[in-house]
């Protein structure tokens, strides 16, 4: 077998692939189900943002309207909605929901929201990592990392799954809501 020399382009493409491998591996280690990951790096650019969408669905299957707003190898901006939380919120505001139920749900919501807020405040250090906007009865989750920090040691996609991992136990407290 002869030598197979690598180009500089090959090598600069290695890092994003390995960031994705790390994010998948981390996610798999937390017991999440993942699709197979094709490592066809010679013929395909590594779309970190597309993999981030796949990872998001592994952590939060209920995430909908996932949208990539901006993406490079070194940063990305993802937006999504969480149908379960939105349904929960609609029920809290629905006058048809019994008053006591609404009150209990609102208290639970307040607890969840405070924990998320605390996570954001603790982790963000002033940087726009995760932003949650709330309009009408819809939350939009916006995760935004652009060249933040040292992406060699702390790649954005890995930050992303670490964030999802920290959000998961908080959002687990959101009860399943069915329209009645």
């Amino acid at each position: 077998m002869g030598l197979s020399y690598l180009s500089q382009d090959d090598i600069t493409q290695w890092a994003p692939w390995f960031w994705v491998i790390m994010a998948y591996k981390w996610t798999a280690d937390q017991g999440k189900t993942l699709p197979a990951l094709s490592l066809a790096w010679r013929s395909e650019h590594c779309d970190v943002d597309e993999h981030a969408c796949t990872l998001l669905q592994s952590w939060f299957p209920q995430a909908t309207d996932i949208e990539v707003l901006d993406a490079t190898d070194y940063g990305m901006s993802l937006k999504w909605r969480d149908g379960r939380i939105n349904a929960w919120l609609r029920m809290i505001r629905d006058p048809q929901t019994p008053r006591d139920t609404r009150k209990a749900m609102a208290q639970a919501y307040d607890h969840v929201w405070r924990r998320i807020r605390a996570r954001i405040d603790a982790k963000m250090k002033g940087a726009p990592w995760l932003e949650i906007t709330f309009r009408a009865d819809t939350f939009t989750w916006l995760f935004d990392v652009a060249n933040y920090g040292d992406y060699w040691d702390d790649p954005p996609v890995l930050d992303f799954v670490h964030w999802l991992e920290s959000l998961e136990p908080i959002l687990k407290n959101v009860p399943e809501v069915t329209a009645s």
Partner: protein
Amino acid sequence: MTLRLSRRWLDGAVPPISGTAKLISAFLSEETVEDWSAFTFHDAQWALEQLVHYAALDYIYDDLDEDGSPNSDNDWHHVLHVYEMTAALRTMPAKCPPDIPFY
């Protein structure tokens, strides 16, 4: 440690291939990862460290001398052998030391 390894070699036991080496081999062979238990998170970190961090990109163009022979002054030269070495790992595990010898 060295003695123990030597005994293993003399006994003809197949030395273990590290998860890092297996992952690098899978990556360079463009395989599809389905079994996420085949390597650890640290293996993936270390593989990136081995492949990217250690090497200086500036040297890559100087790997061959004008006469086509390998440029022995090039720090990259050993790294560029990675593909051949990891391919060899797959076919001749008994000839590879436990840690992948990149340089």
